[in-house]
């Protein structure tokens, strides 16, 4: 079955620290890749997406992600986190054989001021 793995379930950082959240997906042919964020008390929002082209994609609020096809990875990065980045982050994949997003289990990020 197609699956998405997020290695870090909980991450705690201090403000200004750099962030990298891992995401790996199982092989399934052509994929489109997404990172969603859920701030406390809010609904899921799109951070960034990769469909094709430059494997380094930039999203909102200074986030970026790199698609490495050979590693089946789509890690999320931010050079300097802020307290307002405290949220849960979900990696999601569209496999071309399906009609739905397959989500990872999520990573809870806490940024200490």
């Amino acid at each position: 079955a197609q699956s998405v793995s997020q290695h870090n379930h909980h991450v705690i950082l201090s403000e200004a620290a750099s962030l990298e959240l891992g995401c790996n997906y199982s092989y399934g042919g052509t994929v489109n890749l997404f990172w969603y964020v859920q701030y406390p008390g809010q609904h899921l929002q799109l951070l960034l997406k990769y469909f094709s082209g430059d494997p380094l994609v930039k999203g909102i609020k200074g986030f970026e992600a790199e698609f490495i096809k050979s590693k089946f990875s789509f890690n999320l990065r931010k050079p300097s986190v802020q307290w307002s980045d405290t949220a849960e982050y979900f990696c999601a994949v569209y496999y071309n054989a399906g009609n739905m997003l397959t989500f990872g289990g999520g990573t809870r990020l806490m940024v200490k001021p």
Partner: protein
């Protein structure tokens, strides 16, 4: 414009009861999705509508779950004979069309089965 809305925001019911959860997608979006998110997990796909028809219902866990979208806009997820294991947040999403477009999510309905 208005985003995806879901009602109720919270629903508490007793084991064995019937519940209906409503989703109002973004106007003009032809694709509508239902997901279920259990505590500590990511959302899991339930069903996908393209227009009025269920194009993929492979995620529905059993025949107690059913969803409709009779006019191609509002959708209702129906759960019969609820069980405690059905307790979760039920998310609805819509997109302009299917085929890998960005999905916009609603706030979810938190269902608790006592």
């Amino acid at each position: 414009g208005a985003g995806v809305s879901q009602t109720p925001s919270n629903k508490v019911t007793e084991k064995g009861k019937y519940v209906e959860l409503r989703c109002d997608p973004i106007s003009g979006h032809t694709a509508l999705y239902w997901y279920r998110q259990s505590l500590g997990q990511g959302p899991e796909f339930l069903i996908y509508f393209q227009g009025t028809g269920a194009a993929d219902d492979s995620g529905l866990p059993n025949d107690r779950f059913f969803a409709v979208r009779p006019e191609g806009s509002v959708s209702t997820l129906k759960i019969q004979r609820t069980e405690r294991g059905d307790s979760a947040v039920y998310l609805c999403a819509s997109s302009l069309r299917g085929d890998y477009n960005e999905q916009f999510f609603g706030p979810g309905t938190r269902l608790t089965v006592l």
